[in-house]
Subunit: 215 residues, 2 copies
């Protein structure tokens, strides 16, 4: 796949200063996020649900119970998968120019049900390792019954847009000169808290390194 994103009318970013056109930027946003919002159309109306995901090359995978109605609405149909990372709140000198610093990726694709057992296993591994790195080796792997109860959808990243806003507010000159209001950025950061061991663990169970030292 080309290292550059080739915008279609659907994936063209309006404010071009915020658009990123490298596939590497797309991968960076997808890899930094934990939760995506998956949009499907049900009876002509949009439905947007949060989901975790994983990436293998140019494909994003999501999963759900085989009984999930949203999954049935997505399989074989057009979907939109969006990942947004909020980096800061932008305080401007006017309320009009208030903004947010963020990175977002928007994928447009037909969701392909994954039926090949090898691809399905690789997709689930990518998903688990994206959300909880180290868990695929540490925890018990999926049984045949568990695999049968899990549906996986593949979402191709060919048609995608990436937007990034960063930096200070962009105010009108008159407001800057007036100097009556503060302006700047309040960064938003996400961090891990102290691991909370399950009460059913043996008392001597230590928090393993892949959880304790998660970056």
């Amino acid at each position: 796949m080309s290292p550059e994103l080739s915008p279609t009318p659907r994936s063209t970013v309006r404010k071009s200063a915020r658009a990123r056109t490298d596939r590497a930027d797309l991968h960076a946003v997808l890899d930094a996020g934990l939760v995506a919002h998956l949009g499907v159309v049900v009876d002509g109306a949009p439905l947007v649900l949060p989901t975790t995901y994983g990436r293998v090359g140019d494909t994003v995978y999501v999963h759900a119970s085989t009984g999930a109605p949203s999954l049935r609405a997505a399989a074989g149909h057009r979907v939109c998968l969006t990942v947004t990372l909020l980096d800061g709140l932008v305080y401007a000198r006017s309320v009009f120019h208030h903004s947010a610093n963020y990175r977002s990726a928007v994928l447009h694709a037909e969701a392909r049900p994954v039926t090949d057992p090898q691809e399905k296993l690789a997709a689930l591994r990518a998903l688990v390792e994206h959300v909880t790195p180290g868990s695929w080796e540490h925890a018990r792997g999926p049984s045949a019954k568990e695999l049968a109860a899990t549906a996986v959808l593949a979402i191709d990243t060919s048609e995608a847009s990436v937007k990034v806003r960063q930096g200070p507010p962009v105010d009108d000159d008159a407001d800057v000169e007036a100097g009556t209001a503060w302006a700047g950025v309040l960064p938003v950061t996400q961090s891990w808290g102290e691991p909370q061991p399950c009460a059913l663990l043996p008392v001597e169970a230590a928090v393993p390194a892949h959880v304790r030292d998660r970056g």
Copy 2:
């Protein structure tokens, strides 16, 4: 409006143990979030875009430039607005039972363009005060030209669902007894960084309390 959410087929939560049915729970999730994902249907396909929002009573407001195509696709049409708060990653003894702790709210409504000047101003105030509390009084208010360039949509919260997952992993008994894997929750927290003043501010400008002491 009733203090209880009345699920429609669309807003019925499948895993009922995770469903919340109080309007107060809906408001709590909406008030705790900063970014929503708005789903619209464009040419039969879903489009999901991140946006900030504000709430006044039982109405959520979003805004955009009057020139934004996504806004034109939403105005007067069915939309889905989803707010998700990630609270933790759930490490289970099997990869199958890995999960996430989260709170989410999903609204289904027809997006109503706000044309009344008073409602529009109140909506923008709610939006600014939700994302950047204190800014409406501190910064310059919107000019007539800025108001004309801003479109506001109202999204009613009547048809809504709220889901909450919290607590430890739910593992199979055999995996708990085997005791071969760690299990627990890694909390995810969002916090503010140090305010970054705009370089064009007078050097003596102090960070105001509504930014410095933001809770």
